[in-house]
Amino acid sequence: MIGLTHQILSGLAIGSIYACVALAVVMIYQATHLVNFAQGEMAMFSTYIAWALIQAGAPYWAAFFLTLVFSFAMGMAIERWLIRRFERAPVLAVVIVFIGMLVIINSLAGFLFSYTIKSFESPFPEKFALGNGFMSPHELGSIGVTFAVLGLVYAFFRFTPLGLAMRAAAQNPVSARLVGIRVGHMLAIGWGLAAAIGAVAGMMAAPIVYLDPNMMGGILLYGFAAALLGGIDNPWGAALGGFIVGVLENIAGAYLVGEEIKLSVALAIIVGVLVAKPSGLFGRVLVTRV
């Protein structure tokens, strides 16, 4: 019983990271109907920036927030200078552009920071263990940070005029333009936000999976699984999906398929959701207009 509880709690912790990735993926999907295959690499690159700042002597949280700013700018730049050029391109072409982005960012990271694995410190050191033997301080901290991020993003979209304008631009870009909303700007901001949220996921993941250019591959996959499970057009469903997927992964890994092929659990979830209920648990039913 203790083992199961531990697996669940640990699953929630890793699930918080998946929730962030899923949220980022869904944000971009909602605004553009595109899946950002390069989300993981963007997060990884941001994490390396954080690492570099820390190496240069910056205190953790300063590096953390500077990285968020950097990621936001990177996301905006990518939308403005790359993605926007393919606004009217067919789906296949855009997927290939995303793949191109994926490999460029991956190799850029490898080139700038080398392929040797690095360690990344957790900002939640042992001494903060809250007497809770079931979870490490980092696991608890990850969940806390994730909830903070989710809360802030929720508040932003719910209560600010800019958040409302962004929602409008995503739902109905034509009408949004007619009330004077600069839809292009909204898209860029959305990408910036998604990149920043992804960076949070990367920085929370790095202490666990260690920092290397290929660190986010598996995590991205779980993020996709979570987004699909929760409903690819529902950001909060996707976040919830992240926690569910984290727990599922741990339980399946511990009791069903073994630790080494946990990625196949993600594959199974993805294919399963797409076959059984493509709109996910909380999404809207997808309608194909004939």
Binding site: P161, R167, Q171, V174, R177, L178, V179, G180, I181
Partner: protein, 237 residues
């Protein structure tokens, strides 16, 4: 007449296909101008061309200055509010959120607040449903919402694309009366595209008839109404 908006040789294209062929049009400042024509005449395209939603060529002058805006959002920011065909309400947002979005580009908070109250005064039903999701409103209510949202912009020109479409006659009468009231009390110039020629000619002071992308008849409403061909084809008597 002083024109708040005028076009000279306006042409519009969907891709390689030309849909408007050199339209000359003027909207009277402070008045209501109607744009009539059958399906496919190019009326919607004309509004879209004015809102920079389709490729266009030719001269457009707004308040005397050449309209150089390249994107729809810039046209809106100049003070031209466009209620598109299909209404274009944000279905997943509430009535109140829709209205606030209409005023998104405005800086004057207090004016916006009184603007909101004025919208509710014109359309009390919207006030009743202010927290309801726009998608759950009836057709007539959505049209009211669309008009109100456009007014929240504080526009100098209000363009409406087929406001009577799909609505019951009583509801349409209601809405058109309110439009007249808005025009008289607020002085908002209007350009209304309508298939229902009778309704439009009752409301507007000046009218244009469009056929396959060109203006065939124009003049004061009374003259257009009296025109033989218009009577027979569009008014049915």
């Amino acid at each position: 007449m002083a024109a708040v908006l005028e076009t000279q040789g306006l042409c519009a294209f969907y891709g390689a296909t030309q849909v408007l062929h050199g339209v000359d049009l003027a909207v009277e400042a402070g008045g209501i101008t109607a744009l009539l024509g059958a399906n496919g005449a190019g009326k919607t395209t004309l509004l879209r061309a004015l809102s920079a939603m389709v490729r266009r060529e030719g001269l457009i002058r707004f308040e005397g200055n050449a309209l150089k805006a390249r994107e729809a959002e810039d046209v809106a920011r100049l003070g031209i509010a466009h209620v598109p065909d299909g209404r274009g309400t944000f279905l997943d947002l509430t009535v109140e959120q829709n209205l606030h979005l209409g005023a998104y580009t405005r800086r004057d908070r207090s004016a916006v607040a009184s603007e909101l109250e004025r919208a509710f005064a014109y359309f009390p039903r919207l006030k009743e449903r202010r927290s309801q999701q726009a998608g759950t409103l009836s057709g007539g209510e959505q049209q009211m919402l669309a008009i109100s949202r456009a007014l929240m912009l504080g526009p100098k020109l209000l363009m409406l694309d087929e406001p009577s479409f799909g609505l019951a006659p009583l509801v349409v009468k209601d809405i058109f009366n309110i439009l007249r009231a808005i025009n008289e009390e607020e002085g908002v110039s209007m350009l209304i595209v309508e298939q229902n020629a009778n309704l439009a000619l009752n409301l507007a002071g000046y009218a244009y008839l469009l056929e396959t992308g060109s203006v065939v008849i124009s003049g004061p409403s009374s003259a257009v109404r009296a025109d033989e061909s218009v009577r027979r084809v569009y008014l049915g008597y």
